[in-house]
């Protein structure tokens, strides 16, 4: 077991983990932050996307110890005092949510984009979420939601 210290959704967290553990397993099994999903466990579907120091990563392939002394943001850390993030608001309003399993990963991938590039064009949005699969929505309303959030200055 080894210590892992990270700033998770703005709070300092310290725990002892098996060094072979991936970040997603720490989030889900140890901390029960189950908003981060596992769709394939091999970096193909993007459902487990979280931000590490602002960069979108597949947390199923990201060794938890690589997050040591870094900032990790998950879907649970997006709404501030129950006020939804503009991306979350836009996903609801535009109708970009169907089954909702890919939604957290999509929103996190989109957040990484908007933090870096507040007014992306359609191609940039598509590229940013191209590693995240969705089987329900056909992506059209997801792209529209990211665009809507960007127009509202969502970061």
């Amino acid at each position: 077991m080894q210590p892992l210290v990270m700033k998770l959704n703005g709070q300092d967290v310290t725990l002892q983990i098996d060094p072979s553990t991936m970040l997603v397993d720490v989030l889900r099994d140890e901390l029960h932050l189950t908003g981060t999903k596992v769709g394939c466990n091999e970096g193909e579907c993007g459902a487990c996307t979280v931000l590490v120091d602002g960069l979108a990563v597949d947390s199923c392939l990201f060794p938890a110890l690589k997050a040591d002394h870094r900032e990790v943001t998950t879907i649970e850390g997006l709404a501030f005092d129950d006020e939804l993030h503009p991306l979350q608001q836009a996903f609801i309003e535009v109708g970009a949510v169907q089954c909702g399993f890919c939604t957290p990963g999509m929103i996190m991938a989109a957040k990484a984009l908007l933090d870096e590039n507040p007014s992306p064009d359609e191609d940039e949005i598509k590229l940013a979420i191209s590693g995240t699969l969705c089987r329900c929505t056909g992506y059209t309303k997801i792209v529209a939601a990211v665009r809507a959030a960007a127009l509202k200055g969502g970061k």
Binding site: E42, C99, G100, L133, C136
Partner: protein, 737 residues
């Protein structure tokens, strides 16, 4: 004053939890003292089990139990015919058969112990093509049945020989569609436990929780009152969660260990552990007169049922009824077969037997139109079903037939014009690059709403009204076992309740889960929940309002009403006639017209969907935003089916095991534009005139794309997917190279 909730773009009631990560999917559940299970899968597509030695696994530290066939009280299940084993007994019939279940203190331990189980197999010759499986002497998948043919349906309408004698043009085709994987993003997961009342309780993402309870109780030899299923958030389904997957395994685990047992499939196990869309082999012969009227169709369909029945028979029945297309054809002869093989079981998938047939009948329509020198829209418009037409199965289509409206709306949107009472296609500017060709393709298709062929389709709903000051409705609770698989049924039913009760939608509380509490509303399938469950909610609300009117109602009081809606209240259906096969098969129908604009690179064979106009006759749109969402998703799934997705088995072994090997469309595959066209030709039997939408959005996509490829290049692609390789080969053949 009407509130106007029906027809409005209400935000989905489940979306706030889904965008914040609060929605609980089955893998998100953790209980005190919870154990973890792993499945040992069959190693062979067809083999006898001579023995299982689990002693080393049982002795492994942390292992609580290793369960095999002898631990299952009644070792059988199946949604239609109980020909599946919970854990393999005596033999395995596909690589998707679970052989043993390891239950341990951790998932890692269960996985390690699984490798210690020794199964002694005697491999048997297998059969992997349904056409070969039909032949005399083929290895039998289920010996006791004496044949691999699970079912044969037929339809004889009119006189086909006389019909072909009248035909000026006859075209033939042989079409093949492959397996398709549902590829929902949430792999199967579930937890079984014994609740405080001693009931076996399963938490799972399921399409038909009440039928699961029936099958779980049967396998555990318990009364159904001793089994509960609680449906969590569901990460997509598309038919793939209609059958049992791991429900009985976690129930059995909890029943045996008396502790919560969690089982989560990996992506590879998900692909191995649930069935696929049926591959079909389809032979068509179709005749028309020179004035462009269909006179005869002769059709043979053969589907691969895989190792078990699942819903292969009702899928085939549907395919039989849809085989000739939504057209008036006086003379029809149809024979259809579904056949056991040692491939993975095949099952419900979006369209349920209405998705494969249009690959055949719509290619035939374009072949005929071309031979007759008629525009494909014009040719179809002369033949499509309208109110009062006789369907290919001999029944009169009495009302609500929106096929022609859908066709005309899609054609007009795509630029067709009616000139001197004939539909004329738009001219499309071809790209400057000589190797890039654009083509337009049209497809009509149709799909049933609700359960068919005389089946007594029922949906129950319970409505509880809680009254406030002056007897006004303060809160309404709607209890209904309708699974929201992502399609938005929870929201649609809330809208129907709000509209019927005339109360603001935020006072409607939906309860969809727990079979011990909510009435059975049937499966989230057959595009039926808006029609069936919507009717049940509407009627229950009306009854509650009626009771409210008849009593002195005051603050603190409540009114309760339950209603079981039966499909035959809307339209009674009949099964195939034993002599002619004629029938009035379906309660209601959705009608679809798709026009695809496709670009083909004639050097590489790569085809790309550029734009899709998708007209859906939904009867009445309950929520246009959700319908558009279904269209967007349905078009992309159909596009994947047409151009990309290739789920491969080689002699029963799965070759496309995960998302690296089985590709589904990403955002980069989305066409430049999808134009959803909502057509509303009401069905008087549905709530507010609504029909259904979920499956219809996907069924016409692939045939429209195939017809567009032909329009662009002159080659007919008769086998999916229309991959670059396949189109390239066809182009080479056409050029005589």
């Amino acid at each position: 004053m009407p509130m106007g909730y029906v027809g409005k773009r209400i935000a989905r009631v489940d979306s706030p939890d889904k965008v914040t990560g609060k929605s609980i999917f089955p893998a998100d559940l953790y209980f005190d003292g919870m154990l973890h299970a792993k499945v040992l899968w069959s190693e062979y597509p067809h083999a006898r089990i001579l023995g299982i030695d689990a002693s080393a696994a049982r002795a492994y530290p942390g292992v609580v139990a290793v369960l095999t066939a002898e631990d299952v009280p009644v070792n059988e299940y199946g949604i239609n015919i109980m020909d599946q084993r919970v854990l393999a007994q005596d033999k395995v019939r596909s690589v998707g058969d679970p052989v043993a279940l390891v239950i341990a203190e951790s998932e890692r331990t269960a996985g390690a112990a699984r490798r210690l189980i020794v199964v002694e197999y005697q491999e048997l010759p297998g059969v992997f093509d349904p056409r070969e499986a039909m032949a005399p002497g083929a290895p039998l998948v289920h010996e006791e049945k004496g044949t691999n043919v699970l079912k044969h349906f037929f339809v004889r309408k009119g006189d086909v020989a006389a019909g072909f004698a009248q035909a000026d043009v006859i075209v033939e085709g042989y079409y093949h569609t492959p397996h398709q994987e549902h590829a929902y993003l949430q792999p199967e997961a579930g937890v079984g436990l014994i609740d405080e009342q001693g009931r076996v309780t399963v938490y799972v993402a399921a399409q038909w929780p009440h039928d699961d309870v029936h099958q779980i109780a049967h396998a555990l030899n318990l009364p159904e009152t001793q089994v509960r299923e609680c449906v969590t958030a569901i990460g997509g389904a598309f038919g793939g969660r209609e059958d049992i997957s791991l429900q009985i395994l976690v129930a059995l685990g909890a029943y045996k260990t008396r502790r919560p047992v969690k089982l989560v499939y990996t992506r590879e196990e998900s692909i191995r552990g649930h069935g696929k869309r049926h591959p079909f082999f389809m032979r068509h012969r179709t005749g028309a007169t020179r004035d462009g009227l269909l006179v005869a169709a002769e059709i043979e369909l053969i589907s691969d049922a895989g190792a078990y029945a699942s819903t292969s028979i009702p899928v085939l029945a549907n395919a039989t009824s849809f085989a000739a297309g939504p057209y008036q054809i006086p003379n029809v002869s149809i024979d259809t077969y579904t056949v056991y093989t040692n491939n993975l079981v095949t099952m419900a998938m979006r369209g349920f037997g209405s998705t494969q047939p249009p690959i055949g009948y719509e290619s035939q329509m374009d072949k005929l139109a071309e031979r007759l020198g008629l525009d494909p829209v014009e040719f179809r418009a002369r033949n499509v079903l309208v109110n009062g037409s006789i369907a290919p199965t001999g029944c009169v289509m009495e009302h609500g037939v929106g096929m022609k409206e859908a066709l005309e709306r899609a054609a007009q949107a795509a630029g067709w014009q009616r000139k001197s009472s004939t539909w004329t296609r738009p001219q499309i500017a071809q790209p400057k690059e000589p190797n890039k060709r654009l083509g337009l393709g049209v497809a009509c298709s149709w799909k049933n709403v609700g359960y068919s062929f005389g089946f007594d389709d029922k949906a129950g709903a319970r409505v509880e009204l809680y009254l406030g000051r002056g007897g006004a409705i303060e809160r309404a609770v709607v209890k209904i076992g309708a699974s929201d698989v992502g399609q938005g049924v929870e929201t649609a039913l809330a809208q129907i309740a709000a509209e019927t009760l005339q109360v603001p939608i935020d006072r409607i509380e939906m309860m969809l889960s727990d079979t011990a509490v909510v009435p059975n509303a049937g499966s989230s399938s057959a595009s039926r929940h808006v029609f069936m469950s919507g009717s049940a909610v509407q009627r229950a609300c009306q009854e509650a309002l009626g009771r409210l009117g008849g009593q002195e109602a005051g603050a603190g009081q409540s009114v309760v009403a339950e209603y079981i809606f039966r499909g035959r209240e809307a339209h009674p259906t009949t099964n195939f006639d034993p002599v002619t096969g004629l029938c009035d098969p379906h309660i209601s129908y959705g009608y679809v017209a798709d026009v695809a604009l496709v670009q083909v690179d004639t050097e590489t064979g790569q085809a790309e969907l550029v734009k899709m106009w998708a007209a859906q006759d939904v009867g009445r749109a309950i929520n246009p935003t959700m319908i558009e969402g279904q269209v967007d998703g349905g078009v992309l799934m159909g596009q994947g089916y047409a151009l990309l997705e290739e789920w491969i088995q080689e002699r029963g072994y799965i070759k496309t095991r995960n998302f690296t090997e089985y590709l589904i469309p990403t955002v980069l595959d989305v066409p430049k534009e999808i134009v959803p066209i909502i057509v509303e030709v009401p069905d008087h039997g549905g709530p507010f005139g609504a029909k259904g939408v979920g499956e219809m959005t996907t069924i016409g996509v692939a045939p429209a794309i195939l017809n567009a490829i032909h329009d662009a290049t002159g080659v007919w692609i008769e086998e999916l997917p229309a991959s670059a390789e396949r189109i390239h080969q066809a182009l080479k053949k056409k050029a005589g190279k």
